[in-house]
Symmetry: C2
DNA sequence: CGCTGTATTGACCTCCTTCAAATGCGGTGG
DNA sequence: CCACCGCATTTGAAGGAGGTCAATACAGCG
């Protein structure tokens, strides 16, 4: 049930089997349909939310109605680990596909981190990686052209989903619409569409029926100059 | 000496006078010229670095030589508060103007936070605000046009510099070149130049001799739809 | 006064957007 | 099983924001 989180954390810290147990004991999960708000701007959530399956996103909407997705949340990602420190949410979170979500009482988390430094350290690590991803997205939007931008996002998701244990070696389920993709990359859906077509023709990707396959992962990585160092993955001890 | 940091922290947490003392005691500062690297990608800094005056930036360079600035560091901002958790730096940090920088031994910081929860909380707060700023920059690059983008950055800096106590009500020293500005906004310096001219003609800004003045702050904020909630400032107790 | 880095300008180009219509497709109800 | 609906994808034509290249003007500084 909590395996995506545990799998992910094991790439960022040395969690022992005992620690795993502690996390798994917190289970209280629910199913959420696609396109539902999990948290809205201005909220002060009491529980900590965790995505266990499906895709969700952080987003902000401008006065003119435009929406910018500022993060994709995949299995193992926290929605609001630390709002308590900030007070109110400055952005909203919504599902992009059906998701299973865990609600963890904030007190439980606080208690857990206080008593188990390794867990605290692992959670620390996740938020710093989230920040590093934001920086890389900024580079992506600022300096790369649409095709490389899309390719880079696909490469990042491949790694992140593999780390969570929900992607195979060269592909994964990809429920986002072209519109969603456009909103995360700062493009229009029309241009995303045309760019995807070009990438398909170039044999870089196979994207159909909400499934992305990458025939030649190394080639795609080279195409967009992908370097996963910003994900700060640590060699996993078997 | 440490007033920018202390001034800033007081907007994010309830620090008492005693806490102030503790921070101030750590002083070991130095002057750094403009365009010097403070930290490079791959480094594992031992000390924690803090900007006390001047402008610095986080940046990443692509293989093709393009540079993207992913954060501006102003007085009171930390460079690398938490690399210890991540290991190596995934980006570099350089000065944009002459800066005074403080080097704080990591152990001192660890010790301080462990023994003084309020300080720990305040430092927590700063890193979460940094993350919120990244999200807003993503919105800026993805959804706003050049003129609003520039305006938004200017508004953000006005608030941040005021919070640090180094800006007056409607302006501040602005040492960045148009090239620097271009690299932070994902534009070219040519286009930044033309856009700045238009903004000057519109009376939105006065930018000359490395000094930015904003004749009508409310107007500029309205122009770019600026909402400072993402900076998570707390009403300061006098 | 000359040097060097920054700002400015012009001409041209292209990536991406806009608007609008058409096509395709999964799901549902008859 | 088929017709139909709603949503997502695809396509076309035209326009605009921003990029590229390269020359010129300007300003601070030793």
């Amino acid at each position: 049930m909590f395996s995506p989180l545990i799998s992910k954390l094991s790439h960022g810290a040395d969690l022992t089997g005992v620690d795993h147990q502690r996390l798994a004991k917190l289970a209280r999960t629910r199913l959420v349909g696609a396109h539902r708000n999990l948290i809205e701007r201005g909220d002060r959530p009491q529980d900590v939310h965790l995505v266990l399956s499906g895709f969700a996103c952080r987003y902000k909407v401008l006065r003119n109605g435009k929406r910018q997705i500022v993060a994709l949340l995949v299995p193992g990602d926290f929605c609001d680990l630390h709002v308590a420190v900030l007070g109110a949410m400055d952005h909203s979170i919504a599902t992009l596909s059906p998701c299973t979500v865990a609600d963890l009482p904030r007190d439980t988390i606080l208690d857990l981190t206080e008593r188990h430094p390794r867990i605290a350290h692992a959670l620390w690590w996740t938020t710093l990686v989230d920040e590093a991803i934001l920086r890389e997205w900024l580079v992506n939007m600022g300096q790369r052209e649409a095709d490389q931008q899309i390719a880079h996002l696909f490469c990042e998701l491949l790694v992140r989903l593999q780390v969570a244990g929900v992607a195979d070696a060269n592909g994964y389920p990809f429920p986002l619409t072209q519109e969603d993709l456009a909103e995360t990359l700062g493009l229009t859906s029309v241009h995303v569409n045309r760019t995807l077509q070009a990438m398909r023709e170039a044999g870089l990707i196979v994207l159909q029926k909400r499934q992305l396959d990458i025939p030649d992962v190394e080639r795609l990585k080279a195409f967009c100059d992908f370097d996963p160092d910003y994900l700060h993955l640590v060699k996993r001890r078997e």
